[in-house]
Symmetry: C2
Subunit: 140 residues, 2 copies
DNA sequence: GAAAATCCAGAGTATTTTAGTATGCTTTAG
DNA sequence: CTAAAGCATACTAAAATACTCTGGATTTTC
């Protein structure tokens, strides 16, 4: 039950953008160095975030990235699902839509399946209840 | 956020043992074939479960495995932590004991860290609230 | 309009983890 | 004694992960 580094880095970078919301576009290089993340790796991560519409970009000198929405409208669940794919504790509960097409067909696996579904939904519920702004407010 | 096959298989096998509680010792071969899991792989999994005290074994003919406690006293959290290691969404929240020795030392990472802690605890809470018996009762 | 700063894209690679096999030994009932 | 079972450890193949590399495209500034 571990997040990928993409998810971890992505959340940290998004917090960085949230802290600098209203400061205009922030160059990726400054985020990468502040968060100690490889710049090229972070570029890949930001490409996913941009394509999914969570951030906006400007090219050229004075370019950079900024949140597409205010921090109170961006949920960590969205960030993590974009970067790590849907929360799927085991293969047979792949996604919300096709809940019943990928059964393992085995004897007691249905009993276990209920657990995986609960686990999946439980994790999603938490991640979909926390916004970037919530995290900023945790600052002691 | 995916469970390992060890965790998945282990939970399924423990459900199998729970269903056959009071039937005495069940040979691993029958569990492996019923659940369609490689016998040798399942042996490794059961070795961990036995060393952790969740199951008991008998050797020789008529040997096999059985739950060390009744199904209502075994929590899925225990099974999964034995087989997958402690729930650790990211490295810096490695375990309950040493919460503050493995900080990343980076600027905003503490804000993210609160999230990882919440996530870790949230998952553990769910898994520690469900027993094998609970899962048997889900049988429709 | 050249140069520099920035984003953008896709291929390639090295490491680690995972999931499983292989081999062989030990114990016990009958 | 033999067959059925558990026990232990080493090995390996495949997949996923976490990056790096290379080269471009856009935009501001001088």
């Amino acid at each position: 039950m571990r997040l990928s580094s993409r998810g971890e880095y992505g959340v940290r970078a998004m917090i960085h953008l949230a802290l600098n919301y209203h400061q205009g576009f922030i160059p990726l290089s400054s985020i990468a160095s502040a968060e100690d993340i490889s710049q090229q790796y972070l570029e890949q991560i930001f490409a996913s975030l941009r394509r999914s519409g969570l951030i906006l970009s400007n090219r050229g000198v004075k370019g950079g990235y900024t949140l597409a929405l205010p921090p109170q409208s961006i949920y960590v669940g969205d960030i993590i699902r974009v970067l790590d794919g849907p929360i799927t504790p085991v293969g047979c509960v792949s996604d919300e839509g096709d809940e019943d097409d990928s059964r393992c067909g085995k004897s007691n696996s249905c009993l276990a399946r209920n657990l995986w579904l609960k686990l999946r939904d439980h994790i999603n519920q938490l991640l979909d209840s926390i916004t970037l702004q919530d995290m900023l407010n945790w600052k002691q």
